[in-house]
Protein backbone atom coordinates (compact mmCIF):
# COMPACT_ATOMS: atom_id res chain seq x y z
CA UNK A 1 0.00 0.00 0.00
CA UNK A 2 2.65 2.49 0.98
CA UNK A 3 4.62 1.35 -2.07
CA UNK A 4 1.65 2.27 -4.26
CA UNK A 5 1.32 5.71 -2.66
CA UNK A 6 5.03 6.24 -3.18
CA UNK A 7 4.65 5.38 -6.86
CA UNK A 8 1.73 7.79 -7.27
CA UNK A 9 3.64 10.56 -5.51
CA UNK A 10 6.71 9.87 -7.62
CA UNK A 11 4.73 10.04 -10.85
CA UNK A 12 2.87 13.19 -9.81
CA UNK A 13 6.06 14.99 -8.78
CA UNK A 14 7.88 13.90 -11.93
CA UNK A 15 5.05 15.08 -14.16
CA UNK A 16 4.98 18.36 -12.24
CA UNK A 17 8.75 18.84 -12.59
CA UNK A 18 8.79 18.12 -16.32
CA UNK A 19 5.56 20.02 -17.01
CA UNK A 20 6.76 23.12 -15.17
CA UNK A 21 10.09 23.01 -17.01
CA UNK A 22 8.16 22.82 -20.30
CA UNK A 23 5.85 25.67 -19.35
CA UNK A 24 8.90 27.77 -18.52
CA UNK A 25 9.87 27.43 -22.18
CA UNK A 26 6.51 28.26 -23.72
CA UNK A 27 5.23 31.10 -21.54
CA UNK A 28 5.49 34.65 -22.84
CA UNK A 29 5.99 36.26 -19.45
CA UNK A 30 9.49 36.33 -18.01
CA UNK A 31 8.13 36.48 -14.49
CA UNK A 32 5.97 33.42 -15.03
CA UNK A 33 8.92 31.62 -16.63
CA UNK A 34 10.98 32.20 -13.50
CA UNK A 35 8.16 30.96 -11.29
CA UNK A 36 7.72 27.86 -13.46
CA UNK A 37 11.42 27.01 -13.18
CA UNK A 38 11.19 27.52 -9.43
CA UNK A 39 8.19 25.17 -9.18
CA UNK A 40 10.04 22.58 -11.22
CA UNK A 41 12.92 22.65 -8.72
CA UNK A 42 10.52 22.47 -5.78
CA UNK A 43 8.94 19.36 -7.33
CA UNK A 44 12.47 17.91 -7.53
CA UNK A 45 12.81 18.64 -3.81
CA UNK A 46 9.68 16.53 -3.30
CA UNK A 47 11.47 13.67 -5.09
CA UNK A 48 14.38 14.10 -2.66
CA UNK A 49 11.97 13.69 0.25
CA UNK A 50 10.72 10.44 -1.30
CA UNK A 51 14.36 9.31 -1.28
CA UNK A 52 14.68 10.09 2.48
CA UNK A 53 17.00 13.03 1.77
CA UNK A 54 15.17 15.67 3.83
CA UNK A 55 18.15 17.95 4.28
CA UNK A 56 18.88 17.98 0.55
CA UNK A 57 15.23 18.76 -0.16
CA UNK A 58 15.24 21.69 2.29
CA UNK A 59 18.45 23.07 0.79
CA UNK A 60 17.02 22.66 -2.72
CA UNK A 61 13.89 24.64 -1.82
CA UNK A 62 15.80 27.37 0.00
CA UNK A 63 18.39 27.94 -2.71
CA UNK A 64 15.87 27.92 -5.52
CA UNK A 65 13.12 29.96 -3.91
CA UNK A 66 15.32 32.83 -2.71
CA UNK A 67 18.05 32.64 -5.33
CA UNK A 68 15.78 32.15 -8.32
CA UNK A 69 13.52 34.99 -7.23
CA UNK A 70 16.38 37.47 -7.10
CA UNK A 71 17.63 36.18 -10.45
CA UNK A 72 14.20 36.64 -12.05
CA UNK A 73 14.04 40.18 -10.71
CA UNK A 74 17.44 41.00 -12.15
CA UNK A 75 16.31 39.65 -15.53
CA UNK A 76 13.14 41.70 -15.34
CA UNK A 77 15.03 44.85 -14.38
CA UNK A 78 17.77 44.48 -16.99
CA UNK A 79 15.44 43.91 -19.93
CA UNK A 80 14.11 46.86 -21.88
CA UNK A 81 10.79 45.08 -22.22
CA UNK A 82 9.98 44.59 -18.55
CA UNK A 83 9.81 40.87 -18.06
CA UNK A 84 8.25 40.10 -21.43
CA UNK A 85 5.26 41.94 -20.08
CA UNK A 86 4.78 43.78 -23.37
CA UNK A 87 4.40 40.63 -25.43
CA UNK A 88 2.32 39.02 -22.69
CA UNK A 89 0.05 42.05 -22.81
CA UNK A 90 -0.25 42.00 -26.61
CA UNK A 91 -1.13 38.33 -26.54
CA UNK A 92 -3.81 39.08 -23.98
CA UNK A 93 -5.25 41.95 -25.98
CA UNK A 94 -5.34 39.89 -29.19
CA UNK A 95 -7.17 37.11 -27.30
CA UNK A 96 -4.74 34.40 -28.27
CA UNK A 97 -5.50 31.18 -26.44
CA UNK A 98 -2.99 28.81 -24.90
CA UNK A 99 0.64 29.25 -23.93
CA UNK A 100 2.28 32.11 -25.75
CA UNK A 101 5.02 30.44 -27.69
CA UNK A 102 2.66 27.89 -29.21
CA UNK A 103 -0.05 30.35 -30.18
CA UNK A 104 2.39 32.79 -31.73
CA UNK A 105 4.06 30.92 -34.53
CA UNK A 106 6.02 32.48 -37.31
CA UNK A 107 3.70 33.50 -40.17
CA UNK A 108 4.52 31.66 -43.37
CA UNK A 109 4.87 32.97 -46.91
CA UNK A 110 5.79 36.36 -48.28
CA UNK A 111 4.70 39.46 -46.37
CA UNK A 112 1.36 40.71 -47.70
CA UNK A 113 0.98 44.23 -49.00
CA UNK A 114 -1.24 47.01 -47.77
CA UNK A 115 -3.01 47.07 -44.47
CA UNK A 116 -2.26 43.46 -43.59
CA UNK A 117 1.47 44.14 -43.67
CA UNK A 118 1.67 45.77 -40.27
CA UNK A 119 -0.11 42.88 -38.62
CA UNK A 120 2.20 40.42 -40.36
CA UNK A 121 5.24 42.36 -39.19
CA UNK A 122 3.95 42.34 -35.63
CA UNK A 123 3.43 38.60 -35.75
CA UNK A 124 7.02 38.14 -36.97
CA UNK A 125 8.30 40.30 -34.13
CA UNK A 126 6.30 38.47 -31.52
CA UNK A 127 6.86 34.94 -32.75
CA UNK A 128 8.86 32.98 -30.21
CA UNK A 129 9.30 30.09 -32.62
CA UNK A 130 11.62 30.44 -35.56
CA UNK A 131 12.35 28.59 -38.78
CA UNK A 132 14.76 26.36 -36.88
CA UNK A 133 11.98 25.04 -34.64
CA UNK A 134 11.54 21.62 -36.35
CA UNK A 135 15.28 20.97 -36.20
CA UNK A 136 15.42 21.98 -32.54
CA UNK A 137 12.45 19.75 -31.73
CA UNK A 138 14.02 16.78 -33.51
CA UNK A 139 17.35 17.34 -31.76
CA UNK A 140 15.67 17.64 -28.37
CA UNK A 141 13.58 14.50 -28.91
CA UNK A 142 16.68 12.55 -30.00
CA UNK A 143 18.67 13.58 -26.92
CA UNK A 144 15.72 12.75 -24.69
CA UNK A 145 15.54 9.30 -26.29
CA UNK A 146 19.26 8.72 -25.71
CA UNK A 147 18.92 9.73 -22.06
CA UNK A 148 15.89 7.49 -21.51
CA UNK A 149 17.71 4.52 -23.08
CA UNK A 150 20.71 5.22 -20.85
CA UNK A 151 18.52 5.37 -17.73
CA UNK A 152 16.74 2.12 -18.61
CA UNK A 153 19.86 0.19 -19.65
CA UNK A 154 22.14 1.21 -16.79
CA UNK A 155 22.36 -1.43 -14.03
CA UNK A 156 21.64 0.87 -11.07
CA UNK A 157 23.15 -0.26 -7.76
CA UNK A 158 20.67 -0.90 -4.94
CA UNK A 159 21.84 0.21 -1.52
CA UNK A 160 20.67 -1.75 1.49
CA UNK A 161 21.99 0.83 3.98
CA UNK A 162 19.33 2.31 6.27
CA UNK A 163 19.00 6.10 5.89
CA UNK A 164 20.56 7.90 8.85
CA UNK A 165 18.32 9.87 11.18
CA UNK A 166 20.72 12.75 11.73
CA UNK A 167 21.88 13.46 8.20
CA UNK A 168 22.67 17.08 9.06
CA UNK A 169 25.37 16.16 11.54
CA UNK A 170 26.90 13.60 9.18
CA UNK A 171 26.96 16.07 6.29
CA UNK A 172 28.53 18.73 8.52
CA UNK A 173 31.23 16.35 9.74
CA UNK A 174 32.03 15.23 6.20
CA UNK A 175 32.17 18.80 4.88
CA UNK A 176 34.69 19.84 7.53
CA UNK A 177 36.84 16.70 7.40
CA UNK A 178 36.96 14.68 4.20
CA UNK A 179 35.73 17.36 1.78
CA UNK A 180 37.20 20.33 3.63
CA UNK A 181 39.47 21.36 0.77
CA UNK A 182 36.64 21.55 -1.73
CA UNK A 183 34.30 23.21 0.75
CA UNK A 184 36.74 25.90 1.82
CA UNK A 185 37.97 26.30 -1.74
CA UNK A 186 34.44 27.03 -2.94
CA UNK A 187 33.97 29.49 -0.08
CA UNK A 188 37.21 31.24 -1.03
CA UNK A 189 36.18 31.41 -4.71
CA UNK A 190 32.84 32.98 -3.78
CA UNK A 191 34.60 35.49 -1.52
CA UNK A 192 36.95 36.39 -4.37
CA UNK A 193 33.93 36.81 -6.64
CA UNK A 194 32.23 39.15 -4.16
CA UNK A 195 35.41 41.19 -3.72
CA UNK A 196 35.80 41.43 -7.49
CA UNK A 197 32.22 42.57 -7.93
CA UNK A 198 32.65 45.23 -5.26
CA UNK A 199 35.81 46.53 -6.94
CA UNK A 200 34.12 46.65 -10.35
CA UNK A 201 31.07 48.40 -8.98
CA UNK A 202 33.10 50.99 -7.07
CA UNK A 203 32.62 54.58 -8.09
CA UNK A 204 35.46 56.10 -10.06
CA UNK A 205 37.24 58.66 -7.87
CA UNK A 206 39.99 59.64 -10.33
CA UNK A 207 39.54 63.13 -11.81
CA UNK A 208 38.31 63.04 -15.39
CA UNK A 209 39.61 65.24 -18.15
CA UNK A 210 36.33 67.02 -18.81
CA UNK A 211 36.26 69.19 -15.66
CA UNK A 212 39.91 70.11 -16.26
CA UNK A 213 38.96 71.76 -19.54
CA UNK A 214 36.18 73.60 -17.76
CA UNK A 215 38.66 75.03 -15.25
CA UNK A 216 40.85 76.42 -17.98
CA UNK A 217 37.89 78.14 -19.56
CA UNK A 218 36.33 79.69 -16.50
CA UNK A 219 38.84 80.72 -13.86
CA UNK A 220 37.18 81.00 -10.44
CA UNK A 221 33.60 80.17 -11.26
CA UNK A 222 31.35 78.65 -8.59
CA UNK A 223 30.56 75.01 -9.15
CA UNK A 224 27.56 73.18 -7.77
CA UNK A 225 26.12 69.67 -7.81
CA UNK A 226 23.11 69.06 -10.07
CA UNK A 227 21.45 67.12 -7.24
CA UNK A 228 22.57 69.05 -4.16
CA UNK A 229 22.24 72.77 -4.53
CA UNK A 230 23.85 73.56 -1.20
CA UNK A 231 27.20 72.17 -2.40
CA UNK A 232 29.32 75.08 -3.72
CA UNK A 233 33.02 75.27 -4.37
CA UNK A 234 35.24 77.45 -6.48
CA UNK A 235 36.62 74.74 -8.74
CA UNK A 236 35.35 71.62 -10.50
CA UNK A 237 35.38 68.26 -8.79
CA UNK A 238 33.04 65.66 -7.36
CA UNK A 239 30.12 66.26 -5.05
CA UNK A 240 31.03 65.18 -1.51
CA UNK A 241 27.47 63.90 -0.99
CA UNK A 242 26.78 61.85 -4.11
CA UNK A 243 30.02 61.80 -6.11
CA UNK A 244 28.58 63.33 -9.27
CA UNK A 245 30.69 65.72 -11.36
CA UNK A 246 30.05 69.32 -10.33
CA UNK A 247 28.66 71.71 -12.93
CA UNK A 248 29.15 75.47 -13.21
CA UNK A 249 26.43 77.20 -11.19
CA UNK A 250 24.05 79.42 -13.14
CA UNK A 251 23.25 82.91 -11.93
CA UNK A 252 19.73 81.98 -10.91
CA UNK A 253 20.81 79.10 -8.73
CA UNK A 254 23.57 81.24 -7.17
CA UNK A 255 21.06 83.90 -6.16
CA UNK A 256 18.66 81.27 -4.98
CA UNK A 257 21.37 79.64 -2.91
CA UNK A 258 22.47 82.96 -1.36
CA UNK A 259 18.91 83.89 -0.55
CA UNK A 260 18.38 80.56 1.15
CA UNK A 261 21.61 81.02 3.11
CA UNK A 262 20.70 84.45 4.50
CA UNK A 263 17.18 83.43 5.41
Amino acid sequence: MSGLIEWILFLALSVLAVGMAASMLVTMSMYRAGLALMSSFVALAGLFILLNADLLAAIQVMMNVGGMLVMVLFMVMLMMDPGGEMMWDMKRKMHMPGPGALSMTMPRGAPPSGKERQHHQMMVDMAMSTAQLPWALALGAASALVLIVLVVRTPWPFSSVQPTQDATGAVGTLLLSRYMLGFEGAAFLILAGIAGAVIFARRERAPTSRPAAATAASGTKIFTCPMHEEVRQSGPGQCPLCGMDLTPATEASVHHGEGGGSA
Partner: protein
Amino acid sequence: MNTFGVALLVVWSLLICAYGIAVLERLTALGLRHFRAAVLLPLAETVALLRQENLVPRGADRLLFHSAPLVALTSIALAALVIPLGPALRGFDPSIGLFYFIVVLGPFVIAMMNAGWSQNSPEGLSGTFRAAACLISYEVPLGFAVIGPVMAAESLSTARIVEAQTGLWYVVWQPLGFLIYAIAALFMTYRRPFDLPQAGSELAGGVLAEYTGARLLLFHIALNALFFLLTAMGVVLFFGGWQGPGLPGPIWFLVKTVALATVLLWGGRFLPRVRHDQMLSLAWKILLPASLVNVALVGILILVFPGEKS
Protein backbone atom coordinates in the same frame (compact mmCIF):
# COMPACT_ATOMS: atom_id res chain seq x y z
CA MET B 1 -7.58 11.05 10.89
CA ASN B 2 -4.93 12.16 13.33
CA THR B 3 -3.24 14.17 10.59
CA PHE B 4 -6.55 15.80 9.77
CA GLY B 5 -7.04 16.74 13.41
CA VAL B 6 -3.59 18.32 13.62
CA ALA B 7 -4.23 20.28 10.43
CA LEU B 8 -7.55 21.59 11.73
CA LEU B 9 -5.98 22.52 15.06
CA VAL B 10 -3.14 24.39 13.38
CA VAL B 11 -5.47 26.39 11.14
CA TRP B 12 -7.77 27.32 14.03
CA SER B 13 -4.95 28.33 16.33
CA LEU B 14 -3.41 30.39 13.53
CA LEU B 15 -6.69 32.23 13.08
CA ILE B 16 -6.89 32.96 16.81
CA CYS B 17 -3.24 34.06 16.90
CA ALA B 18 -3.80 36.37 13.93
CA TYR B 19 -6.74 37.93 15.76
CA GLY B 20 -4.63 38.29 18.90
CA ILE B 21 -1.88 40.07 17.01
CA ALA B 22 -4.45 42.38 15.39
CA VAL B 23 -5.76 43.29 18.85
CA LEU B 24 -2.24 43.83 20.15
CA GLU B 25 -1.40 46.07 17.20
CA ARG B 26 -4.46 48.24 17.90
CA LEU B 27 -3.70 48.30 21.62
CA THR B 28 -0.16 49.55 21.02
CA ALA B 29 -1.54 52.17 18.65
CA LEU B 30 -4.56 53.38 20.65
CA GLY B 31 -3.40 52.76 24.20
CA LEU B 32 -5.03 50.76 26.97
CA ARG B 33 -7.84 53.28 27.42
CA HIS B 34 -9.38 52.09 24.16
CA PHE B 35 -9.31 48.42 25.08
CA ARG B 36 -12.86 47.74 23.91
CA ALA B 37 -12.26 49.36 20.52
CA ALA B 38 -9.04 47.37 20.10
CA VAL B 39 -10.86 44.12 20.77
CA LEU B 40 -13.85 44.88 18.56
CA LEU B 41 -12.22 46.66 15.61
CA PRO B 42 -10.55 43.58 14.07
CA LEU B 43 -13.88 41.74 14.19
CA ALA B 44 -15.69 44.66 12.57
CA GLU B 45 -13.01 44.85 9.89
CA THR B 46 -13.36 41.14 9.20
CA VAL B 47 -17.09 41.48 8.68
CA ALA B 48 -16.62 44.56 6.52
CA LEU B 49 -14.03 42.83 4.33
CA LEU B 50 -16.22 39.75 3.95
CA ARG B 51 -19.10 41.91 2.74
CA GLN B 52 -16.89 43.73 0.26
CA GLU B 53 -16.96 42.96 -3.45
CA ASN B 54 -14.14 40.81 -4.84
CA LEU B 55 -12.53 42.91 -7.53
CA VAL B 56 -10.00 41.61 -10.04
CA PRO B 57 -8.22 44.53 -11.71
CA ARG B 58 -8.22 44.81 -15.48
CA GLY B 59 -5.26 43.13 -17.13
CA ALA B 60 -4.32 41.21 -13.99
CA ASP B 61 -2.38 37.97 -14.21
CA ARG B 62 -5.34 36.01 -12.90
CA LEU B 63 -3.57 32.80 -11.97
CA LEU B 64 -1.03 34.57 -9.78
CA PHE B 65 -3.60 37.05 -8.43
CA HIS B 66 -5.93 34.30 -7.23
CA SER B 67 -3.26 31.95 -5.93
CA ALA B 68 -1.12 34.46 -4.00
CA PRO B 69 -3.16 34.57 -0.72
CA LEU B 70 -3.49 30.79 -0.70
CA VAL B 71 0.24 30.27 -1.20
CA ALA B 72 0.95 32.70 1.64
CA LEU B 73 -1.40 30.96 4.07
CA THR B 74 -0.18 27.49 3.09
CA SER B 75 3.44 28.32 3.72
CA ILE B 76 2.60 29.82 7.11
CA ALA B 77 0.46 26.85 8.16
CA LEU B 78 3.30 24.48 7.21
CA ALA B 79 5.80 26.55 9.20
CA ALA B 80 3.53 26.53 12.27
CA LEU B 81 3.89 22.75 12.58
CA VAL B 82 7.40 22.84 14.08
CA ILE B 83 6.70 25.40 16.83
CA PRO B 84 6.82 23.46 20.12
CA LEU B 85 4.08 24.77 22.43
CA GLY B 86 4.95 22.30 25.15
CA PRO B 87 7.19 19.29 25.82
CA ALA B 88 5.13 17.07 23.49
CA LEU B 89 2.80 19.61 21.92
CA ARG B 90 3.76 20.22 18.32
CA GLY B 91 2.81 19.13 14.81
CA PHE B 92 5.98 17.21 14.13
CA ASP B 93 9.62 17.38 15.12
CA PRO B 94 12.00 16.76 12.23
CA SER B 95 15.72 16.71 12.99
CA ILE B 96 16.10 19.83 10.82
CA GLY B 97 13.19 21.68 12.47
CA LEU B 98 14.57 25.22 12.51
CA PHE B 99 15.95 24.95 8.98
CA TYR B 100 12.57 23.62 7.84
CA PHE B 101 10.88 26.65 9.44
CA ILE B 102 13.04 29.10 7.48
CA VAL B 103 12.77 27.14 4.23
CA VAL B 104 8.99 26.78 4.35
CA LEU B 105 8.56 30.51 4.93
CA GLY B 106 10.37 31.18 1.62
CA PRO B 107 7.24 30.80 -0.54
CA PHE B 108 5.54 33.46 1.61
CA VAL B 109 7.78 36.12 0.08
CA ILE B 110 6.99 34.71 -3.36
CA ALA B 111 3.29 35.02 -2.61
CA MET B 112 3.69 38.67 -1.59
CA MET B 113 5.70 39.43 -4.72
CA ASN B 114 3.21 37.58 -6.94
CA ALA B 115 0.45 39.63 -5.35
CA GLY B 116 2.23 42.86 -6.27
CA TRP B 117 3.26 41.75 -9.74
CA SER B 118 -0.01 40.21 -10.86
CA GLN B 119 -2.27 43.18 -10.16
CA ASN B 120 -0.99 45.21 -13.11
CA SER B 121 -0.55 48.47 -11.22
CA PRO B 122 2.48 50.71 -10.57
CA GLU B 123 1.91 50.60 -6.81
CA GLY B 124 1.95 46.83 -6.81
CA LEU B 125 5.07 46.67 -8.98
CA SER B 126 6.95 49.06 -6.68
CA GLY B 127 5.81 46.95 -3.75
CA THR B 128 7.12 43.82 -5.48
CA PHE B 129 10.58 45.28 -5.91
CA ARG B 130 10.59 46.55 -2.35
CA ALA B 131 9.57 43.12 -1.09
CA ALA B 132 12.51 41.65 -3.01
CA ALA B 133 14.82 44.24 -1.47
CA CYS B 134 13.45 43.24 1.93
CA LEU B 135 14.13 39.59 1.13
CA ILE B 136 17.78 40.14 0.26
CA SER B 137 18.13 42.35 3.34
CA TYR B 138 16.82 40.06 6.05
CA GLU B 139 17.63 36.58 4.77
CA VAL B 140 21.37 36.49 5.51
CA PRO B 141 21.31 38.24 8.94
CA LEU B 142 18.36 36.06 9.98
CA GLY B 143 20.26 32.92 9.03
CA PHE B 144 23.35 33.99 10.99
CA ALA B 145 21.29 35.12 14.00
CA VAL B 146 19.64 31.71 14.43
CA ILE B 147 23.00 29.93 14.11
CA GLY B 148 23.88 31.07 17.65
CA PRO B 149 21.22 28.98 19.47
CA VAL B 150 21.87 26.10 17.07
CA MET B 151 25.58 26.13 17.93
CA ALA B 152 24.81 26.22 21.64
CA ALA B 153 22.16 23.47 21.54
CA GLU B 154 24.07 21.38 18.98
CA SER B 155 20.79 20.61 17.25
CA LEU B 156 18.41 22.04 14.65
CA SER B 157 15.41 20.48 16.36
CA THR B 158 13.22 23.15 17.96
CA ALA B 159 12.38 20.94 20.96
CA ARG B 160 16.05 20.22 21.63
CA ILE B 161 16.88 23.94 21.47
CA VAL B 162 14.27 24.61 24.17
CA GLU B 163 15.49 21.74 26.33
CA ALA B 164 19.07 23.00 26.08
CA GLN B 165 18.02 26.31 27.70
CA THR B 166 16.94 24.72 30.99
CA GLY B 167 19.57 26.49 33.06
CA LEU B 168 20.07 29.76 31.23
CA TRP B 169 18.08 31.44 28.44
CA TYR B 170 20.16 32.16 25.36
CA VAL B 171 19.09 35.79 25.35
CA VAL B 172 21.28 36.28 28.45
CA TRP B 173 24.51 35.51 26.68
CA GLN B 174 23.46 36.09 23.05
CA PRO B 175 21.71 39.48 23.25
CA LEU B 176 23.23 40.56 19.94
CA GLY B 177 21.79 37.52 18.17
CA PHE B 178 18.36 38.21 19.63
CA LEU B 179 18.47 41.84 18.56
CA ILE B 180 19.33 40.86 14.98
CA TYR B 181 16.61 38.22 15.00
CA ALA B 182 14.02 40.74 16.21
CA ILE B 183 14.92 43.25 13.51
CA ALA B 184 14.82 40.52 10.86
CA ALA B 185 11.39 39.43 12.11
CA LEU B 186 10.09 42.98 11.70
CA PHE B 187 11.59 43.00 8.20
CA MET B 188 9.98 39.72 7.29
CA THR B 189 6.44 40.67 8.29
CA TYR B 190 6.63 44.20 6.88
CA ARG B 191 5.95 45.79 10.27
CA ARG B 192 6.98 49.28 11.20
CA PRO B 193 9.54 50.62 10.61
CA PHE B 194 10.15 48.20 7.75
CA ASP B 195 6.68 48.35 6.20
CA LEU B 196 7.85 49.80 2.92
CA PRO B 197 6.51 47.03 0.64
CA GLN B 198 3.03 47.98 1.89
CA ALA B 199 3.64 51.59 2.85
CA GLY B 200 0.10 52.62 3.57
CA SER B 201 0.43 56.34 3.08
CA GLU B 202 2.91 56.23 0.24
CA LEU B 203 2.01 53.34 -2.06
CA ALA B 204 -1.64 52.88 -1.09
CA GLY B 205 -1.00 49.38 0.17
CA GLY B 206 1.85 48.44 -2.18
CA VAL B 207 1.76 44.73 -2.85
CA LEU B 208 -1.82 44.59 -1.57
CA ALA B 209 -3.01 47.76 -3.32
CA GLU B 210 -5.59 46.11 -5.60
CA TYR B 211 -6.77 43.41 -3.24
CA THR B 212 -10.24 43.70 -1.79
CA GLY B 213 -12.66 41.66 0.24
CA ALA B 214 -11.92 38.12 1.32
CA ARG B 215 -8.53 37.96 -0.41
CA LEU B 216 -7.32 41.02 1.45
CA LEU B 217 -8.62 39.44 4.65
CA LEU B 218 -6.60 36.31 3.88
CA PHE B 219 -3.47 38.44 3.46
CA HIS B 220 -4.08 40.24 6.74
CA ILE B 221 -4.53 36.90 8.51
CA ALA B 222 -1.36 35.60 6.88
CA LEU B 223 0.73 38.62 7.88
CA ASN B 224 -0.53 38.62 11.47
CA ALA B 225 -0.10 34.87 11.84
CA LEU B 226 3.42 35.15 10.42
CA PHE B 227 4.26 37.81 12.98
CA PHE B 228 2.98 35.54 15.73
CA LEU B 229 5.02 32.61 14.40
CA LEU B 230 8.21 34.64 14.20
CA THR B 231 7.86 35.94 17.76
CA ALA B 232 7.03 32.39 18.88
CA MET B 233 10.21 31.18 17.18
CA GLY B 234 12.07 34.01 18.91
CA VAL B 235 10.78 32.72 22.25
CA VAL B 236 11.87 29.20 21.31
CA LEU B 237 15.34 30.33 20.27
CA PHE B 238 16.19 32.91 22.92
CA PHE B 239 13.67 32.83 25.81
CA GLY B 240 13.55 29.18 26.78
CA GLY B 241 10.29 28.27 25.00
CA TRP B 242 7.76 26.60 27.28
CA GLN B 243 9.99 26.53 30.35
CA GLY B 244 9.01 28.41 33.48
CA PRO B 245 8.09 27.78 37.12
CA GLY B 246 4.60 26.90 38.31
CA LEU B 247 2.34 27.29 35.31
CA PRO B 248 2.02 24.61 32.60
CA GLY B 249 4.27 24.87 29.54
CA PRO B 250 1.87 26.18 26.88
CA ILE B 251 0.73 29.03 29.16
CA TRP B 252 4.31 30.15 29.77
CA PHE B 253 4.94 29.93 26.04
CA LEU B 254 1.92 32.11 25.23
CA VAL B 255 2.79 34.65 27.93
CA LYS B 256 6.34 35.03 26.66
CA THR B 257 5.23 35.25 23.02
CA VAL B 258 2.60 37.91 23.73
CA ALA B 259 5.11 39.90 25.79
CA LEU B 260 7.72 39.77 23.03
CA ALA B 261 5.15 40.67 20.35
CA THR B 262 3.97 43.64 22.42
CA VAL B 263 7.51 44.94 22.86
CA LEU B 264 8.25 44.59 19.13
CA LEU B 265 5.01 46.20 17.96
CA TRP B 266 5.25 48.99 20.53
CA GLY B 267 8.93 49.68 19.87
CA GLY B 268 8.46 49.79 16.11
CA ARG B 269 5.98 52.64 16.44
CA PHE B 270 8.66 55.03 17.63
CA LEU B 271 10.75 54.74 14.48
CA PRO B 272 10.10 56.39 11.12
CA ARG B 273 9.68 54.22 8.05
CA VAL B 274 13.08 53.18 6.71
CA ARG B 275 13.83 54.09 3.10
CA HIS B 276 14.84 51.22 0.81
CA ASP B 277 18.48 52.30 0.47
CA GLN B 278 18.72 52.84 4.23
CA MET B 279 17.23 49.38 4.70
CA LEU B 280 19.83 47.79 2.44
CA SER B 281 22.75 49.56 4.08
CA LEU B 282 21.38 48.73 7.54
CA ALA B 283 21.17 45.05 6.58
CA TRP B 284 24.47 44.68 4.78
CA LYS B 285 26.70 47.17 6.59
CA ILE B 286 25.49 46.78 10.18
CA LEU B 287 23.36 43.66 10.68
CA LEU B 288 25.51 41.27 8.63
CA PRO B 289 28.87 42.16 10.29
CA ALA B 290 27.14 42.21 13.68
CA SER B 291 25.70 38.74 13.07
CA LEU B 292 29.16 37.44 12.10
CA VAL B 293 30.57 38.94 15.30
CA ASN B 294 27.75 37.21 17.19
CA VAL B 295 28.60 33.83 15.66
CA ALA B 296 32.27 34.29 16.59
CA LEU B 297 31.38 35.39 20.14
CA VAL B 298 29.05 32.44 20.67
CA GLY B 299 31.75 30.08 19.41
CA ILE B 300 34.33 31.55 21.80
CA LEU B 301 31.89 31.41 24.76
CA ILE B 302 31.06 27.78 24.03
CA LEU B 303 34.77 26.92 23.93
CA VAL B 304 35.57 28.85 27.13
CA PHE B 305 32.58 27.61 29.18
CA PRO B 306 31.94 24.07 27.94
CA GLY B 307 29.47 23.52 30.80
CA GLU B 308 26.98 26.01 29.34
CA LYS B 309 26.28 23.80 26.38
CA SER B 310 23.88 21.47 28.11
